[in-house]
């Protein structure tokens, strides 16, 4: 096992452990955790045996295997970013509606208590 190989393996194990720990403490909602756990599986497999990844890359016609990794990673992160932007916008809208409701309800409560 080469140094790089060990580093990759350690990084994978740490990532997976952090996700599992966050899940265990209920800090991460299931719907996000599942995505990261699914990503972790091929990461560990390829960290254990990098040749599997090389063969996969070659079978897809990619001459330089790291290129495949870069492209797939960039694409995946792009999708995650867009999804999170969408989620933040939705949450902001919900928060706004709630704030408006709170203001209106506070006014109604005020009127009910002074009447």
């Amino acid at each position: 096992m080469s140094g790089v190989h060990i580093t990759a393996l350690v990084a994978c194990v740490v990532t997976v452990s952090v996700i599992i720990e966050l899940l265990r403490r209920r800090q991460l909602r299931d719907k996000y955790a599942s995505v990261w756990l699914i990503v972790c599986v091929p990461m560990i497999v390829f960290a254990v045996d990098p040749n599997l990844f090389n063969r996969l890359a070659h079978s897809l016609g990619v001459i330089n295997p790291p290129d495949l990794l870069t492209v797939v990673a960039a694409l995946f992160l792009l999708i995650v970013c867009v999804y999170l932007s969408w989620e933040v916008g939705r949450l902001e809208n919900k928060t706004r509606v709630l704030a408006e409701e709170v203001a209106l309800l506070r006014k109604e409560l005020e009127e009910a208590t002074t009447a």
Partner: protein
């Protein structure tokens, strides 16, 4: 409760909001007045209440659009037939509200379609100067909305407006909360929903207090923002804000 609600969105306007409320009351005795205090850090809420207005205070700053949405929801819930929007800085003369209401109620009331009447500055009466760049930006927007609504509009960023009951219902659900572009965007929404838009010339006064919310050098940035928003608004599907389930 009266039929007409005057909504005054206010952010840190303690020096002027009291005067606006009193002038409104003096000009029209048969209206309810609601000041939407958009999380001011000064005494806006207390001053408005002392002047005799009802006050709703936002729990955090929502922007003019958010404050107006609170106003529309308030009016819709309580069944007001007409709503008038007046700025809290005193730039609009409440004595001109009847002119807006007259146009809103022309051709028979109640109308089944939504109607919005804009109090347009620079449409003949009054004297007020704005920086050239900002004026140019506003002309572009006015030209665009004139095409869209089929009515000649000269001041689409005016926050001096009157709405009938269907318009109140429409905007309680869809009034845009985007910063600074709410006045323009709401007109796009109105025209796409089949609402009638009209304008009445009004004179604009120098603000009682405070500085303009938009310095001149930002006009170009503003135009770009609003332009982008307009493109989005035209390709966007309708009604982004679902009504809360318990809305009556």
């Amino acid at each position: 409760m009266r039929d007409v609600l005057v909504v005054i969105p206010a952010l840190n306007e303690e020096d002027s909001v009291g005067v606006v409320v009193k002038e409104t009351r003096a000009a029209l005795d048969d209206v309810d007045i609601l000041v939407v205090n958009d999380h001011s850090t000064d005494n806006t809420a207390a001053v408005a209440a002392a002047a005799g207005a009802d006050v709703v205070s936002n729990v955090f700053n929502l922007g003019v659009g958010g404050a107006m949405r609170v106003g529309f929801r308030y009016a819709a819930r309580r069944g007001y037939q007409t709503m008038v929007q007046v700025d809290g800085d005193g730039q609009h003369d409440p004595r001109e509200i009847p002119a807006l209401l007259a146009v809103l109620r022309a051709n028979g009331e109640p109308a089944t379609e939504a109607r919005v009447v804009i109090g347009a500055r620079w449409a003949g009466t009054g004297t007020f100067q704005v920086p050239r760049a900002r004026r140019w930006a506003m002309r572009m927007l006015a030209a665009y909305l004139t095409r869209l609504t089929g009515t000649r509009l000269t001041d689409v960023t005016s926050g001096f407006r009157a709405y009938n009951a269907p318009a109140i219902e429409l905007f309680a659900r869809t009034y845009p909360a985007e910063y600074l572009s709410d006045t323009v965007e709401s007109l796009v929404i109105a025209s796409r929903s089949g609402a009638q838009v009209a304008q009445v010339p009004v004179s604009m006064r120098v603000r009682h207090a405070g500085s303009p919310s938009q310095p001149a050098w930002r006009a170009v940035g503003y135009l770009i923002r609003v332009g982008l928003m307009l493109v989005l608004e035209v390709i966007r599907t309708r009604s982004r804000i679902p009504p809360p389930e318990e809305d009556r």
